[in-house]
Symmetry: C2
Subunit: 401 residues, 2 copies
């Protein structure tokens, strides 16, 4: 008998039929002799509907009250799933985040989990109840509702799996697992059986959008074995764990991330400390910078380019005006770029990976604007209009068609 944590997102419980489908999956797992804790998100568009309700009242509602409002969403879905399980004859009990022991800090809207007090969870599991837990939410020291931010239900599931030392944490999605590339774009893309935490983290960061990044980081930290699988097909998914048996494999996947903008700052004085001033200014406003490139500019100056998410581009540019005499005309924003990356733990020992990627892009006549590498990935910034073609070409270069 194993203890399995299962997580279902909002689209998996969007209506009564889908709730029943989830109840069947959960029930089958329980019937096979396992203890089961299920984490669910709010139904379908509930969260967006609630945000719209708040918008009718206030353009900038209090974050505390937003969390009070939004946490009602999962409350509805846990009650309905527990009812559906009861209807199938399974003993089930629903718990809100705080009832399941989620203690967080008081950063409303983006709270971090401080601990999961498992007494209630353990009691319910010991009674052989299927425990249905509201994801995305917790309670802070003031006894106020908090939310973990968007995508937080994955994190809730991993946190429970870690706290209960569950045997596996299954994240159900609408895809069958982690693919070597977006299967809607690249026909020859195929599902990976296994992937390491680090590779998964790179893929998540790079826009694969299968798993929330925080949840993978937490899974890695507490060594929780994850499985990403579909709630619609009864097939094994992709296992995410520390070490995989596929060390020989060079590249695990090719991804595209269109949510990036390139900012170029020209004629920056070529003296020490300039980069520090620029990036500490951005960090003070919590603007994440991704690829950074510095090059020699005109006499006595240098050019610094970097990428940020598109939502942050305008603010980032504005912040830099005035930093050590940077003028508006020295700043150029380009929002027509995309980042294409190859990810794979094996590549650090295979120096040919980068050249293979560049060759594939060259053969397509695609110009590379920036390059960034880490131990397990190589990213290039290119024109967004060429990104899908780039992914296809790079995927073909690394994976047999």
């Amino acid at each position: 008998m194993a203890l399995i944590v299962q997580k279902f997102g909002g689209s998996s419980v969007a209506n009564a039929d889908k709730v029943r489908n989830v109840a069947r999956i959960v029930g089958d797992t329980y019937k096979a002799g396992n203890d089961v804790v299920v984490v669910v998100s709010a139904q379908g568009d509930t969260t967006d509907d609630l945000i719209a309700k708040a918008g009718e009242i206030s353009a900038k509602p209090s974050k505390r009250e937003m969390d009070m409002l939004l946490t009602s969403g999962e409350q509805i879905s846990v009650a309905l799933l527990a009812m559906a399980l009861g209807e199938l004859g399974y003993p089930a009990v629903s718990l809100l985040g705080w009832q399941a022991g989620f203690q967080t800090d008081s950063k409303y809207g983006a709270a971090r989990i401080k601990s999961v007090e498992t007494a209630r969870l353990q009691m319910e599991v010991a009674r052989r109840n299927i425990v249905v837990v509201a994801g995305f939410q917790g309670i802070c020291k003031y006894d106020d509702m908090t939310t973990l931010g968007r995508g937080g239900s994955d994190t809730s599931a991993v946190a429970i799996a870690a706290a209960l030392r569950a045997d596996r944490c299954q994240i159900f999605t609408d895809v069958e697992g982690v693919f070597t590339a977006d299967p809607r774009k690249v026909k020859s893309a195929y599902k990976l059986d296994e992937i390491s935490y680090d590779e998964m983290l790179e893929l998540a960061t790079l826009g694969a959008q299968v798993l929330n990044n925080r949840s993978v980081e937490m899974a890695k930290k507490y060594n929780v074995e994850l499985e990403v699988l579909s709630s619609y097909t009864n097939k094994p998914g992709t296992i995410v764990k520390e070490d995989t048996a596929l060390e020989k494999m060079l590249v695990r996947g090719v991804t595209k991330d269109s949510d990036c903008a390139r900012i170029s700052v020209t004629e920056v004085p070529d003296v020490p400390g300039e980069a520090f001033k620029i990036f500490s200014k951005l960090a003070s406003k919590r603007i994440n910078v991704d690829i950074i490139l510095q090059s020699v500019g005109r006499a006595g100056t240098k050019d610094i380019s970097f990428t940020v998410s598109r939502a942050n581009a305008a603010e980032a540019a504005q912040l830099l005006v005035g930093v050590d005499g940077i003028k508006p005309e020295n700043i150029v924003i380009d929002t027509t770029v995309a980042k294409v990356s190859v990810v794979g733990a094996g590549m650090e020992t295979h120096p040919g990976t980068a050249s293979k990627m560049f060759e594939a892009l060259y053969n397509q006549g695609i110009n590379i604007q920036m390059i960034a590498t880490s131990e397990i990935k190589i990213s290039v910034l290119i024109n967004e209009s060429e990104a899908d073609r780039a992914v296809q070409a790079v995927h073909s270069a690394f994976f047999a068609e």
Copy 2:
């Protein structure tokens, strides 16, 4: 500076405009220098919508899970009202039932309040926050959500007023107060300035439907001064309190209750214990009996008639078959009856009240089927089709046109 508890029902917060209207009323009370605690119900049809959602999943869902589901409704409305107050510049904080200290028993769906732990409420009031509390809900000793049953938000408001020793508890409704008769039916009906708890209780029981009965009982027990008033007109309502200055007034109101059915049982053996057997049988199934009338029947038998709510009529009749040889043909159900009552604390010292009422009915040619009296009311059972005319006639007899 006074401490005022205000309660707004679901129709008063049904949409963003109405929430804003409530925020204005609450804000005006606060701005006048008062401390304010506001209790709100779920928005408009939210509770019914949630019940429908549960109905799609299960014909008989677990009561615990129903409470988990339904308590999300007030969670939405308290957050929205707190946001609307914030938008008007008032400091406001929303609290769920359990955060506001509502400890209940574990009778899910119809829980009773065991205590209100006021620490959090008092802290928020002391900080000069407007405290917005979710009505209708609490938490039981297992840390599970509970609901107080329909209409429970009135009770929540009175319980808070009692626990905080508030100066007044204002119940906002869509009527301007308590009237001498239904103003939609009786043109000359007028609003009472004051009424006693006992009179209000009789009026509530008799179908005036202005205030939930449990809340009036609790207000009487803890001597909480209630005011029933409209959330749409800025006018004083009706004060409900222990002693009123209007002792001379004979009758406070005339009411009609159509939700009654008369059951007549004939040829019951005329021996001791028969009434006990009949009514204990009904009590065992929690069927409330209202007016009871016993008369001499045919040789050696007696007839027993009583009224129950229409929903209970068929079950009550069925239960009695077989009790001491009662046969189906001895039982007659009449669902075309209505109860008309006059209520007023002064009437017990004025024996003329009954005859005045009967005279008014006689003048209209209305036949009285049953009569019941208490210290502060006289009720008659008549044909339902004549009830509105009866109310009009009785009202004219007691109140100047």
